[in-house]
Amino acid sequence: MTIDWIAFTPTTALAGGALIGLASALLLAFNGRIAGISGVIGGLIERRPDSSWRLAFIAGLLIGPLVWQIFATLPATKIEANYFTLITAGLLVGFGTRLASGCTSGHGVCGLSRLSVRSLGATTIFMAAGFATVFVMRHLLMG
């Protein structure tokens, strides 16, 4: 392993993370709900009766880039995957997060903030699977 010091952005990573933690804390503090993105969307697909806060939260995520552009130019978003990979990955992420009842936000941020052992388990597994997948893709198949 070599550390990519040029790509390393500790300040924006910490500040952005703090905003994510703050947003999750606000949703629990005011709405009493967990800011798990897959769970918020899942509730809409299941047509739960409480759709207004769910739609509002997703709308907030979607307009984030628009609000950002009022103050600054958008940071780069580079998507290297091809269409086939994007569709496969999307299906896996959608199905997997619902089966596991959570994703990076619900288990990773909120679950660990609640000191949940189940979420620690989920986070460990999806991180390990992510590391393994990138290793296979970049170093075994394309290396």
Partner: protein, 143 residues
Amino acid sequence: MKTTITALLAGLIFGLGLLLSGMANPQKVLGFLDLAGNWDPSLGLVMFGAIAVGLPIFQLIKSRGKSLLGKPLQLPTTSKVDRRLVIGSLLFGIGWGLAGFCPGPAIVATGTGQQKALLFTLAMLAGMGLFHLSNPKRIQAAG
């Protein structure tokens, strides 16, 4: 009404945090997941920043027992690491490693107007829909 506004605000702050942190950029996410390559540790700090802010506020709200708007706290009650959690997290982690997108960043990147992000998001919604259709417990779960 109030809970809709607070949810919108929480979603917006969450989205801005994802943009600032670099989580909404798949290239950066894959740089973090590539332990064997040129490793970019930034996203570890995103998680650290989010939990550093989230954990104390979550504990405070939990001990209060109710949201500031008087809503009940709807926290997950299951604590078991079961088969669903393990398999779901594995599938999610593989998808995350393939494209570099998890649910929140996919929505935010869609908000930047990137077609590839929209494609991933649509596939993700399809994956969630497939789970909903295949889940025998969906009637109770929706209740």
